[in-house]
Subunit: 205 residues, 2 copies
């Protein structure tokens, strides 16, 4: 039986996607599971549920819990954490770059660097200049051409890619981030990543 | 330092409270953590957020996910599961009995038996006759006096107890079930039970 892959559905504005994104590549490799990185936008999905803002702002009691919970989760995982001074910040530019760079070896490093910028350094990831600086900062064998990738992010094909991916998320029944899809099974939430990987292992065996 | 206890906040109508309730006593004992059983009602808390029904009915996409997720969780935990033919069913009568019986040794067994009735046997736990049958079925050193406990459930002091406990839940920032409070820290969700127990262990050491 062919090994199932894991689809990692994430939104750059999503706090709980941060700890998942930071361990996704390493855990996938350790489990021998190919990871498919699937950036999408929660905005249209939340709008379909009648929310024009993050549910953590719509429901302040959930928001207060989430901020404390993020501190604990990051401490547990050894991740830097700074509550952003503005929330949510649009993940649109970053998600478009991630769509344009879907086949690039540096994609996982880019995703992690954007999350660090947003949730460890309180930088405004909605600003293309910040995303440019993140691209600039990536280590690797080859330098990333910042101008090229910011331009590709604005191409109609890239915008269509992200729109289609967001529609696909909705079609899969995704309603929050992070979400994981393995062998047709949907798992929602950072704390279900390990279980999703195990599911794949049992599904493939 | 005195050992911290764990407050287990649960609602009999709540699906995710079922797998938590079924392992709570055993896990608490294994960890040497006294468990304080805290039945409450989600209705007034949901109403404060503008919902007049379970969020799993208000947001069908979350509901569809939850029903499948419950199947997986119960399979993993070796629990019987049957999707109830009516949802949610009021946990009011059961919660009142649990409040009246707060000091009884059979309380954890009663809680488990109510969850089994609701989510393994599809019985109508809103019906006092079903709760009576559950009380009747409890094994133990002494038979439980069914008439006595159903009567106590209707006493004003018991009703006040449950109302006060629900207000206390709200005061703690609880917005869903199950929730766990350990050393002033709130954890939400069945999948955070083990972490809540670990938190207590590190807090007490």
């Amino acid at each position: 039986m062919t090994a199932a892959s894991l689809e990692f559905w994430f939104e750059f504005a999503s706090t709980y996607s941060y700890p998942a994104a930071m361990r996704m590549e390493a855990l996938g490799r350790a489990a021998g599971v190919p990871v498919l990185w699937r950036p999408f936008l929660l905005g249209p999905i939340f709008a379909a549920q009648g929310w024009r803002d993050s549910p953590f702002n719509v429901y302040p009691v959930k928001g207060r819990y989430m901020w404390r919970d993020m501190e604990r989760i990051c401490a547990r995982q050894g991740l830097e954490w700074r509550q952003p001074s503005e929330f949510p910040r649009s993940g649109l530019v970053a998600a478009r770059v991630a769509c344009a760079a879907a086949d690039q070896a540096w994609l996982p490093a880019f995703v992690r660097a954007v999350y660090r910028a947003g949730f460890a350094e309180d930088r405004d990831i909605a600003d293309p200049a910040v995303i440019g600086a993140v691209l600039e900062s990536l280590d690797g064998d080859a330098r990333v051409d910042v101008g090229l990738w910011l331009a590709r992010a604005q191409e109609p094909a890239t915008k269509d890619h992200l729109r289609a991916q967001t529609a696909a998320a909705q079609g899969l029944g995704i309603f929050g981030a992070p979400s994981f899809v393995v062998a047709g099974e949907l798992f929602w939430g950072n704390d279900r990543l390990e279980e999703a990987l195990e599911w794949r292992i049992s599904a493939a065996s």
